[in-house]
Amino acid sequence: VNKKLLLIPLALLLALSLIAIGCPSTPPPTTTPTTKPPTTAPPTTTPPTTEVKTLQIGFITGLTGWASVGTVHQVHGATVATEMLNDRGGLTINGQKYEIELVVEDDKSTTDGSVAATNKLVYDENIKFIGGYPLWFAAASKDICEQEKVLRAIVWTCCTPGEIDQSTPYTFLCASATLEQAVAVLDYIKDTYPDVKTLACVSPDDGTNQYTWPEIMSMLEARGLSRVGDLIVYPNDMVDASPIAAKVAARDADAIFQVNGWSPHAGAMLKGLRELGDDRYYFGAVPASAGEILAICGEAAATNFSCINPTLGVAENPPLLEEAGAKLVSEYGGPLNLLALNGFDCVWCMAHAIEAAQSLDTTAVRDAWEQMDPIDTVYGTAHLAGLKTYGIQHTVAMPVAIELLDNGAPKFGAWEEVHLP
């Protein structure tokens, strides 16, 4: 009898568990009155109504794992873009109001995780617009997204095959990646430091140098700059840069140019060079805030350095950057991180392309996006580019902000237009 009595609470527990599993953990974040997200059918014939519908935009990036040190900022930016778009009234398509709901998935900093997240968004959630895809992860989900005509706004490209090229007609690059940043930095060197003629070039070994280095060599040549020796490549997960810094310091060049990498790379290398007494100018095509680099290398090393990041409060800044930047710093803390702004632009540009198309059909949106010129971004006015570089005119080439470290403090450098063929 006692055993049977024990079964009753167990059965109740099981039943409650099943109910709990069946229920959503949080209420759907739609506005009232809510309707099912119409992400598949184009509402071109929907009559104007006051009812606000929800448009889901997916966003895939690393919330956990090694890359999340940087990529988690992209979610912050995408979230702020969504909030700002909704605060401005959302999207209006053929008279129908839409509020954007950002559906974030964690790629766990792995290619497998990125594909799993894509499968979930595309096949389980039936989402047709996805942003994100840091590093080289866009290529892994190419087949799924292109086959299903899912429009993607990617936050980065390492230029490996299949990330963005002729085989990805539904993919747009909505950030300045390795090549765009390299163009901007080399133009900055040419404009601001005419005495710099030779560069010692360094890059982490993330598997992309074979694709980017030939392009960058052409860029150097086109600007009358020459490199001293081959590209110095070091392990991507290197923690102490001292041995490589010794190698760089031995190169007799006017300045140092880091063609790729991010804040831990640049911070460690800068620290290593300054410890060796090498005070040459260090130009980093590195998406990182000067404040973050300063936190890594320390004040004593923080001079004669430039990286890619906007500085808030500068008169030359576009108003949208000041607004988004202030919101990002207020909600997530500072310093302002460029990777967050890249996440912002993915959602921002895609939303404006949808509104320009006046359709939720991804082919119509793609066609409309291809005709958008100029394009409004957080960095100011951008243009579509990349036909020669990537084989497809799907790069939103936006201005790039150079930030400096000078005598131990960050300061604004310049805005550079990106002229990418």
């Binding site: 999340s68 040190v69 490549v233 923690v239 041995p243 010794a246 031995a250």
Partner: protein, 286 residues
Amino acid sequence: VELTATTVINVLVLSSMYILVALGFAFLFSIMGILNFAHGAIYMVGGYICYQFGVEYSLNLWVSMLLSVLIVASLGLFLEKFCFRPFFGNLNRTIVVCIGIIVVLETTVNILVGTSTRSLPAFVPGILKAGAISVSAERLVTFIIGGALLWVTIWFIRNTKPGQQMQAVSQNVEGAALQGISIHRVSALACVMACGLAAVAGCLMGAFLSLTPFMGDYMLVKALVLVILGGIGSMGGIIFAGLIIGGLDATLPLFISGAASEAIALGIIVTILLFRPQGFFGREVI
């Protein structure tokens, strides 16, 4: 000449850095046979606690390091009692528990502090110069503290009563217990010391390198390789292994480009182990 001198300094500093990080891991493995895969995560937590006190609360950095060591050592006591002791002698379960500890610690720091890279200020700022050769004071401090801690640890094991009890436990657990040695007390002390050493390493590396929630992953691999190459059970062996690994990591990148330098370094170590599977100093030498 300048590059050669700089490389010699790099070999010594990198070696001491690896030895410092591996010391707690090697200590626990040698004495108690606990393969603490969570050592890297504990090392990371030590650095972050020091950052919290030293940067957020503006305490003196050395005091912050002391507080970090005390807190992480207490964590070691907790881990020994609730995570390692129940699975003592069972490698598979210990590994699973360690993976759990890593996930909990990394995720906690990730959520509470954020993933942005940060760094502790230098414990001893400044750069020392001798002609064309220069070395930062904090690298010198890392070298000195690494060497001193290694010496103190070996001295403790050889010359103190608790240290000799640890030796007895490492040689024969049942025999030591029959002699009246409390295995649990020795195990707890070893865990506290290992975690304290990890915290010291985390604090110094947090200033020397940088702090991220995943900073321990790379160092754990180095510590594991170093302990195996030095010889399981040998505290002295890690000096020799540290010098070899530091030497490879400081010189190979000068001649070999990119990630290949790391692969070749590991290849050399594997080749050494093929001829000397027990490592350089085997198990008997403590």
